[in-house]
């Protein structure tokens, strides 16, 4: 690998690890507060909340989950995928370097700048942004004074612009510079191709929405305020955000799908079964992902025709998804499996992905979403896919990527333990969330114990918190695996 690309990839991965560590720490603070509302945090309490007897302050709770979501999506998974694409993609298409390596260097600079701006925002007079990672207006405009919120906007714009530049590099490498026929590309390459296409199409919409938010905050406009008083409409922001926000899910999962297929195939030493159906399914999912964003607005009072149309399109996604699952099953069928670390992570990811995907069905149905919308069930569902599956997929990808960066290959025994500890830990955190949502628990509540009907569910909160502590601790196994790795 070219030393300059190697440096870019290593630094981007380091930044992603820093982001993921911060995001994990924030999730532990959130989990502690939900399981033990108002009780002092162990270890960190006196440091973080000296004026509040060491307990999480109500006024800081929204900032915790805002930062958790922002950091995990824009400053952990996004840069990690970008770096892993930079390392893994060129050899797949017969090249030593990507078409425009400077684009990935620029992306790294933007991620680093964005991350710094986000952290700077925590020090601002009115404190951290506290409007959720979706930054719904007018909560994120008129109702969020202070520099922290503006710095959040700029930080996310930096990450979005970085990801956009990275996707241009991936697209030009794959479409223009490629030295291998389309039919001989591995599924990982197709995963990056479709994800980059979605990036190129939909990140500009995010950037546009952020620019309009900025203008509402600082230039006196009223795009997203009040239709009767100032002429703008908050619902327009919801449309703009989710037109990007839904494809974003597939931007993060498509490269993972491809990598899971490839690493399972490598472990059984034959090509992935039904590979052409998988590519067709990736294309179908890419198309559908841009048509289903309305399921985030099923309860927003859109016309019934629109709502049912979005439900039908959302349910349609289950059909191409079946092709991925069928391919994984067929790849393993009749094969002889010599599992390596990548295969262990991939098997764990496949098992969790199927659970996570299936729990999307009750959310897609208009009638049951009427009950489940904005509940802990939603949080459990998308974390199974976006957190657990994507994390395991990134770990699978890093098995061949990190040795290329000059890092020793990890110990297989420890990696396997890490894969299963991560999978079980994730189930321990996110399955209780599904149960909480069925009990009617809304997401984003600082203190659920204020609600009579939620108090019987406290033990589920505690179970999720205990599992979260285990899940985070289990990540030390990852470090151990690389440390114990052979040269």
């Amino acid at each position: 690998m070219h030393p300059a690309d190697r440096r870019t990839a290593l630094l981007t991965l380091l930044l992603a690890c820093a982001g993921a560590s911060l995001g994990a720490l924030l999730s532990l603070l959130i989990r502690w507060q939900l399981a033990f509302p108002g009780r002092p945090l162990p270890l960190l309490g006196a440091l973080l909340y000296p004026d509040h007897h060491g307990a999480v302050a109500a006024s800081s709770y929204p900032a915790l989950f805002t930062l958790h979501g922002t950091v995990m999506i824009y400053f952990a998974v996004t840069p990690a995928l970008s770096a892993l694409g930079l390392v893994r993609l060129p050899p797949m298409v017969g090249l030593h370097r990507p078409a425009h390596p400077f684009l990935h260097r620029a992306a790294l600079a933007l991620y680093a700048l964005g991350f710094s701006l986000l952290l700077l925002g925590l020090l601002s007079p009115f404190g951290a942004p506290a409007f959720g990672w979706t930054a719904s207006a007018p909560l994120s405009t008129a109702r969020s004074p202070g520099a922290g919120a503006t710095l959040w906007l700029l930080a996310v714009a930096c990450s979005g612009l970085g990801a956009l530049l990275g996707s241009f590099d991936i697209l030009s490498t794959l479409v223009v510079a490629r030295k291998v026929a389309w039919s001989r590309l591995p599924l990982s390459a197709y995963g990056h191709l479709f994800a980059s296409a979605l990036n190129a199409l939909f990140l500009p919409i995010l950037l546009g929405a952020l620019a309009l938010l900025f203008s509402d905050r600082h230039l006196g406009t009223a795009h997203f305020t009040h239709p009767l008083r100032q002429g703008g409409d908050p619902l327009v922001y919801q449309h703009l955000f989710w037109i990007f926000g839904h494809p974003e899910v597939y931007i993060l999962i498509l490269p993972v799908w491809g990598a899971l297929s490839d690493s399972l195939a490598r472990a059984v030493d034959r090509p992935p079964a039904l590979a052409r159906a998988v590519v067709a399914a990736m294309a179908a999912v890419t198309l559908l992902s841009s048509l289903v964003y309305g399921h985030h607005l099923l309860t927003a009072g859109l016309s019934p025709l629109l709502v049912e149309g979005f439900m039908a399109l959302t349910l349609l996604i289950s059909l191409p998804s079946t092709a991925f699952v069928a391919s994984w099953v067929a790849t393993l069928h009749g094969a002889s499996l010599r599992p390596d670390a990548a295969a262990s992570y991939s098997l764990a990811a496949v098992a969790i992905f199927v659970l996570g995907g299936l729990t999307g069905v009750p959310l897609a149905l208009v009638s049951t979403d009427r009950y489940l919308h904005d509940s802990a069930f939603v949080v459990g569902h998308f974390h199974l896919v976006m957190a657990a599956t994507v994390l395991l997929g990134l770990l699978a990808m890093s098995q061949d990527a990190l040795p290329r960066l000059g890092i020793r290959a990890p110990s297989f025994a420890v990696s396997r333990a890490h894969a299963w500890a991560t999978a079980l830990g994730a189930l321990g955190v996110f399955l209780p969330m599904l149960r909480l949502g069925l009990g009617g628990a809304p997401r984003r509540l600082y203190d659920p114990s204020l609600y009579r009907y939620l108090s019987p569910l406290l033990s589920w909160q505690r179970a999720a918190t205990a599992a979260a502590a285990l899940l985070v601790t289990a990540q030390l196994l990852w470090l151990l695996a690389w440390w114990r790795g052979r040269r």
């Binding site: 059984v268 009072g301 092709a323 099953v329 299936l358 009950y371 009579r452």
Partner: protein, 235 residues
């Protein structure tokens, strides 16, 4: 799920049970198959047995799986349509709701059955309803978006500033419930809690008469002090 005080909620609950049951069955089937396949494939590797594959069977299996999942989707979509509630009946009890940081205000039309008149009855974070009645609600927000959610009545309406959200349900059983805000609306979002009670018709009438009496007295003592946020009911 919390107890259901409405007459239509059981349709949502039933669909939820069916879709979750299918989800659990499909997940269990897949996970068991995966475990079996991995076990077989590892055994083959340790026995050094030749591997086999059957591409045409895989294609057939994929087609079958897509067909089965397609039928499940169709059935669930049809179930969702059947569980949909449709428009509220014309004789429904009408209640206006104003959401604001961080409270719920309720407005009943009073004896003249018209909103925005002097005999309107208003309450704060306290919604009481008669049993056996269809209840139609229109929800507006004063400041930022809020989520009106009564789990025990399976009722939800997300509200955006400048728009009117609607929901309706029919009360079937007496009991107490709670109202929660489900859309993040600021630091005290979690405190946006309301009491909900479904009362017998006598208790409801007694409560309503008491409120009207209080309000008449308050108006006589300080004319013009009644909260003036109502709107004329939208068709």
């Amino acid at each position: 799920m919390p107890p259901d005080l409405s007459s239509e909620g059981h349709r949502i609950d039933a669909l939820l049970r069916v879709s979750l049951g299918l989800t659990a069955a499909l997940a269990a089937f897949f996970l068991l198959s995966l475990a079996w396949l991995v076990y077989r494939a590892r055994k083959r590797a340790s026995d050094a047995a030749p591997s086999s594959s059957a591409p045409s069977a895989y294609a057939f299996g994929l087609g079958l799986a897509v067909l089965v999942f397609g039928l499940i989707d169709l059935a669930l979509a049809a179930g969702s349509r059947r569980a949909a509630v449709g428009p509220p009946p014309p004789d429904a009890l009408r209640v206006e709701v104003l959401a604001q940081q961080w409270a719920w205000r309720f407005r009943y039309a009073g004896p003249d059955d018209r909103f925005g008149t002097a005999d309107d009855v208003t309450t704060l974070n306290d919604l009481r309803l008669p049993v056996g009645r269809a209840v139609s609600m229109q929800v507006r927000s004063l400041d930022t978006s809020h989520g009106f959610f009564i789990p025990m009545l399976r009722a939800r309406a997300d509200t955006y500033p400048g728009r009117t959200a609607r929901t309706w349900f029919r009360t079937a059983r007496e009991g107490r419930g709670e109202l929660a805000c489900t859309v993040l609306c600021g630091d005290a979002h979690y405190q946006m809690r309301g009491e909900v009670a479904v009362l017998s018709n006598e208790q409801y009438a007694q409560w309503m008469n008491g409120l009207m009496e209080d309000q008449r007295r308050a108006a006589a003592a300080a004319p013009g002090s009644a909260p003036a946020w109502g709107w004329s009911w939208l068709p």
